[in-house]
Amino acid sequence: MTVSVDNMTSETQTHSPMRRWTQRLVQSSDLGMAPVIAALVVIWAVFEILNPHFLTARNISNLSAQIVVTGTLALAETFVILLGMIDLSIGWSSVVAAAVFSVTTVFLNWPVWPCVGLGIGASVIVGMLQGLLVSRVGVPSFVVSLGGAMIAEGVSLAMLTPHGGSIPLSDNLSTMIGTLNIAPTWSWILSLGLFAVFAGVMVSQHLGRMKRGAGEGHSVFFAKLGALFVLLIAAVGTLCAYRGVPWLLLIFMAALFICAFLTKSTRFGRHLYAVGGNAEASRRAGINVRFIQLAAFTIAGALVGLGGLLDAARLGVASATVGDSDIMLNAVAAAVIGGTSLFGGRGSVYGALFGALVIASVTNGMDLIGAPSSIRFGVEGVILLVAITIDTLLRQRRLRSGRV
């Protein structure tokens, strides 16, 4: 007996790698991004049929900016959900960041970059304090973040109410990020350059795997990479046909790739998944579970701060009404729709992007066809329930086959 790669049934061995991949996807209890991408295709098709303006360059450009705040907050929530926990404070915590930023730039007239740091720092503190309570004391994250949300609301109101509940922003940075696009030439240079780096890393990893006789086979790998490239060209091409890539989108994508690197390629990311999958096993393996929990909440805090500043820049105002809106629930929904399991340990930061795309597409499309909010909420609720049902059914399938 030797270590072999092909320990599958003889039937699957005879098929091509491509066939094997699809078969594995169908039989597996971890569907990855497949359901959310399918949902997205359906949603876009339906809205394009209902209103041909849906897939125009201009609307896609709007859509790409609309996903940014939900996506960034969903990214934050993903770190916490991967641990099997939840952070309900991200809405109000993001308002704290915007409030600190606006008070320091507008009323104290401090230079803008330090104020960005202070704003994000405020949310980091919120996340860190919650992380300390969760990891050191063992208070359930649900309750901790509920209290955290209330405190963050109080802090936000204390800063914003004296100024009528909202503070308009006028600094150049907020205006640029909130309203401007990167010129088409630079959009192409940036996106193709980033893709070249990404593809380079992926190909070198893939070749390493193939050399050891592991991995998914050339055909599957290059088909995936090619599909990604086509998607990128289509997306950037569409955005450049209007005004270029929005600054908001660039910042979100940068945050997304940093998070992808952190969760997929570093020891911290490995431990994050491990703690989410089996905290006791992780502890016995010598992983500092408390540190991982604290770090996840702190990173989430930083992303929440970024999301709050991006939202303020987009709206041109730091406003307390944001905290009362469905911003937090949308972010949780986006993460779950993107395939991140509320049971912990399964999912990916890319789910935040696709989940946010689903939510924003429904909102955008409903607005476009003039549907009332009542219908929009109904549709979003159904999508969320379908996503969580799939997650739960897959978990039951794993439990049935004795794999918790």
């Binding site: 390493g208 050891r212 592991a214 991995g215 490995r270 096993a281």
Partner: protein, 252 residues
């Protein structure tokens, strides 16, 4: 049979509140041998193992590793000294791949970001799996899709990968079928043959007489038998476990 002493446990005591779990546990494990640890439910097997693994230190008594008394306050202490435990629940992360589980908590990384060196880790994992003659699918396969025997093999391979001296196994065959049990027992023998000390906890008398070199029986938190397997019969062992035999075997 004058193999070197690897681990010596002396007079372990442990109380959980008002309950005395261990009152006087002592035994010795030798290099290259399988020591079976037996006892009825509640006899103190798991408590003893947790003390040696650093998961739940004993209140008093001493643990001597290669002639030196050691302090085992945390699992990391035991790991650092070369003591590895394969728990009954295997302590695997089902949402991670085989290789990720083998290196869990001890990943090889590049500074400064702690970038995982997957290529190196997979090569090392393949080397160990080959020495154990274990048959597993591709190393990035999630542990959730492995069979019970394969999962056991991953847990044992992990112990071998890191436990340079002593491997503790808690009921490794409890949930396995006949063929898989035989495979795991072969692994246990192989481990001993490679010079590891092995503590095997089991209820299965057949397993004991198939793979063990020496036998330790606990009863009500006390060592009631420590003997070479060759000096024993299943009847004697069962008698000590149930308490119908009270003589302490002294054939160490």
């Amino acid at each position: 049979m004058s193999t070197a002493e690897l681990l010596s446990v002396r007079n372990l005591h442990k109380k959980y509140g008002a309950v005395t779990a261990l009152r006087n546990v002592s035994f010795t494990v030798r290099k290259g041998e399988v020591t079976a640890l037996l006892g009825d439910n509640g006899a103190g097997k798991s408590t003893t193992i947790k003390a040696i693994a650093g998961a739940a230190p004993a209140d008093s008594g001493s643990i001597i590793l290669e002639g030196q008394e050691v302090s085992l306050r945390r699992p990391a202490d035991a790991n650092a000294l070369g003591i590895q435990t394969v728990y009954q629940d295997l302590a695997l992360c089902d949402n991670l791949g085989i290789c990720a589980n083998l290196f869990l908590g001890r990943e090889r990384v590049l500074r400064p970001f702690g970038i995982l060196r997957d290529v190196d880790m997979e090569a090392e994992a393949l080397r160990v799996l080959k020495t154990l003659r274990v048959n597993l699918p591709s190393l990035d396969t999630h542990v959730s899709s492995l069979s019970g025997g394969q999962r056991q093999a991953v847990a044992i391979a992990r112990a071998v990968l890191w436990g340079t001296k002593l491997v503790i196994m808690d009921e490794p065959t409890a949930a396995l079928g006949v063929a898989q049990t035989a495979e795991v027992l072969r692994l246990v023998r192989d481990l001993a043959a490679q010079g590891f000390g092995v503590i095997l906890i089991t209820h299965n008398m057949h397993n004991v007489f198939e793979v063990a070199d020496s036998v330790v029986v606990l009863r009500l938190g006390e060592t009631v038998l420590e003997a070479r397997k060759s000096d024993l019969t299943p009847e004697i062992v069962v008698g000590c476990i149930t308490g119908s035999r009270t003589t302490v075997g002294g054939a160490a």
